[in-house]
């Protein structure tokens, strides 16, 4: 009996040790994953801010071989990027084949245009679909099918959306062999566009809209579900119609939640590269959609704003991808700087989402 008891106690000690070890393994895994994020960001930031190493002067060797006196300043050429690669210049220049001259401006504006148009299209469509599913739809088989379909679409690889967009928007099913030019006269301005659309901002935005719609719908549905039914019942009891209830009670109350979800899914769309590569968006582009380079420009020539959606474009992640693939010297630093700009934009968007969530969550109590 005592032997048994001893065995039990030894096993108990080991069980506790095992539990302790397991807890620490879990803890270590968690915190090292967290650490990984900072390693990743740190490595990229350091690369982007590394000053350019002074270049070895190609004529230097011959002077040694000739046995002349070695002038100290001739050994290295002065560095072109003494303050690192992530500078103001980088933000204000277009792309270039020379690493030192490459900038992100066309990518930045391209991304803003594409994501802006994506927001314009995906928010009404996504919120509309969520409203239908949450407020109107009866639990029929068809509704269930739509719901299942949406969650499946959210899991479709982004590259498949790229092929979808390429076929529908860029090629338009190959209805015409050669793009046909159209001019749409709006009185004060003529908008030039081609059909099939080709590799323009609008194609990119439409593709990203299809890609981000499922996520927008799902997050908007969650926001709508968080609104208590009593609010709707109270409004309906006062004689409001269904739409009036939604318009004046449900939507305002769920707006912070919807906005948070929308911003998060747009920030995902901003980082999407694969669909844009498949669409064939240009990577080597140094112009901005609509050639709008300043606010004054946009005010003076409002027509450019309408022309921009039908202009060629590039985007930050696309630029980064083409720089990563460029084996010539210096482009890995340019790519790191591009990633930094991309991450700053993402952090700004996510920060806005978190701010909205924090601020409005405290105000509303059901």
């Amino acid at each position: 009996m005592s032997l048994h008891r001893g065995g039990y106690e030894i096993r108990l000690v080991w069980r506790h040790r095992l539990g302790w070890a397991f807890e620490w393994i879990c803890r270590l895994t968690t915190w090292s994953t967290m650490l990984l994020l900072f390693v990743l960001l740190g490595a990229i930031l350091v690369t982007a801010c590394t000053p350019d190493q002074p270049l070895r002067n190609p004529n230097f060797k011959s002077t040694v071989a000739a046995g002349n006196g070695i002038p100290a300043e001739a050994e290295f050429l002065p560095a072109k990027k003494p303050r690192g690669w992530l500078t103001w210049d980088f933000l204000t220049k277009g792309n270039s084949y020379i690493a030192e001259d490459a900038g992100i401006m066309s990518g930045l504006w391209g991304s803003i245009w594409v994501v802006g148009l994506t927001a314009l299209m995906s928010v009404p469509l996504g919120v509309g679909a969520a409203l239908y599913l949450e407020e109107y739809a009866k639990p029929t088989r068809f509704t269930k099918l739509i719901q299942l379909n949406i969650s499946n679409l959210a899991g479709v690889p982004s590259i498949v959306y790229g092929i979808l967009g390429f076929t529908i928007f860029v090629r338009m099913f190959g209805l015409r062999d050669r793009p046909e030019k159209f001019i749409c006269s709006l009185g004060f301005v003529d908008v030039h566009f081609e059909l099939p659309l080709g590799r323009v901002v609008l194609s990119g935005a439409a593709t990203l809209t299809l890609l981000s719609l499922p996520v927008v719908i799902i997050s908007a549905q969650e926001a709508l579900r968080a609104i208590p039914a009593s609010l709707r019942h109270a409004s309906l009891a006062l004689g409001a119609t269904k739409w009036q209830t939604i318009r004046h009670q449900v939507l305002p109350a769920s707006l912070p939640g919807i906005l948070t979800g929308v911003i998060l899914s747009l920030s995902r769309a901003l980082g999407e590269t694969a669909p844009l590569v498949v669409l064939g968006a240009a990577a080597q582009l140094s112009i901005v959609p609509g050639r709008i380079t300043s606010l004054g420009d946009a005010i003076q020539h409002p027509g450019k704003l309408l022309q921009a959606p039908f202009d060629q474009f590039t985007a930050i992640p696309l630029q980064v991808y083409s720089w990563v693939n460029d084996p010539s010297r210096g482009f890995e630093y340019v790519a790191a700087s591009g990633i930094c700009v991309l991450l700053v934009v993402l952090v700004l968007m996510n920060g806005t989402a978190i701010f909205i969530r924090q601020r409005f969550q405290k105000k509303i109590r059901w």
Binding site: L36, N149, V160, I163, L164, L264, R268, T273, V324
Partner: protein, 328 residues
């Protein structure tokens, strides 16, 4: 509606009824409009299937689909994938691409699934509320990092500073600058947040009465976590694993940057490979002749990709659905 109106005075009656009909029409219009929005998702799905199917499997009569030109047997049994070569050397066997894809997915699963589950167990069973409030936003950030960034990290940091010194310098194995291992590792990191948050949800959904009965029987926290909570949530955890794996199959940019562009039938993680997704990206970067077999092969590869991920998503959704019914 008309009954309610008829009880009112006559002069108001007509205008009110008029108003009610207008409102009724407006309500119907709005409902129709919102329904169209919801229908758009079905249209999207159908058009994906239509486009992939008509180009890859069965084309409208004047044109020929990919499988009408190449043949299913060659597509699934041939071991060479060389659609970009000169006409007489072209082979269309998807096996190298599938093999590359599953190599990367396998590596990512080996890294991402256990790590994600560990984090989920830590967050749901061990972590203090404070630790949770730090971990969750960081995980969200990790999930929000664009995939090109992971690709860059794999190519410029992971391969030269970790994989090369260890496998080439220490073990003396030949390592390619582009290798499946670096791609697999970053894809593994990428799916950690997904596994962690999905699994944590299902672990937390396990009723605490189960945990308490475990403690009452003298179980340690380890026993409760691994022998009660995880088995109770097993189907949900498996569903999250499936979703994560389907995501890593569809992952494109990180893999095409880090793992190279050479379709080789190999299971050596240190060699250059090509996945289905990176093939598509690689071809679409250049100009593709409309209607060429190369272009149709893109659709065929995309169809295989779509079918695999759709199947995995459907299975995991069915599991999650059943799981929800059990515990609610």
């Amino acid at each position: 509606m008309s009954n309610a109106c008829s009880s009112r005075p006559d002069e108001q009656k007509s205008s009110l009824r008029h108003l009610m009909t207008l409102q009724w029409v407006r309500e119907q219009l709005i409902q129709g409009l919102l329904f169209t929005c919801a229908l758009l998702s079905i249209i999207t799905s159908l058009s994906i299937i239509y486009i992939l199917f008509t180009t890859a499997v069965l084309a409208w009569p004047p044109g020929k689909s990919f499988f009408q030109q190449v043949g299913l047997v060659e597509f699934f049994t041939e071991t060479r994938w060389t659609p970009q070569y000169a006409a007489e050397q072209r082979h269309y066997g998807i096996l190298p691409l599938v093999c590359g894809t599953f190599l990367v997915t396998g590596i990512s699963g080996l890294i991402g699934l256990p790590a994600g589950l560990m984090i989920a167990i830590y967050l749901s069973e061990y972590a203090s509320p404070r630790a949770r409030s730090i971990c969750k936003p960081i995980l969200e950030l990790l999930a929000g990092v664009p995939t090109v960034v992971y690709g860059y990290f794999a190519l410029k940091f992971l391969t030269p500073y970790f994989i090369m010194p260890f496998f080439h310098g220490f073990l003396g194995l030949p390592v390619n600058g582009f290798n499946a291992l670096s791609g697999g590792i970053v894809v593994g990191i990428m799916i950690i947040p997904m596994v962690a948050s999905l699994s944590e949800d299902v672990l937390r959904a396990v009723p605490s009465s189960l945990r308490e009965s475990g403690y009452a029987l003298g179980a340690t926290k380890f026993d409760v976590s691994t022998k009660i909570v995880v088995p109770a949530a097993l189907s949900g955890v498996l569903a999250s694993f499936l979703l994560a794996l389907s995501r890593s199959i569809g992952e494109t940019m990180a893999v095409s940057i880090a793992a190279g562009q050479q379709p080789v039938l190999t299971i050596n993680p240190l060699s250059q490979i090509q996945t289905m997704t990176s093939f598509i990206v690689n071809v679409m970067q250049g100009d593709v002749v409309a209607g060429s077999t190369l272009e149709k092969s893109l659709y065929a590869v995309a169809l295989v990709l779509f079918a695999i991920t759709l199947g995995m998503n459907l299975i995991s959704q069915m599991i999650l659905e059943r799981y929800r019914e059990v515990y609610q």
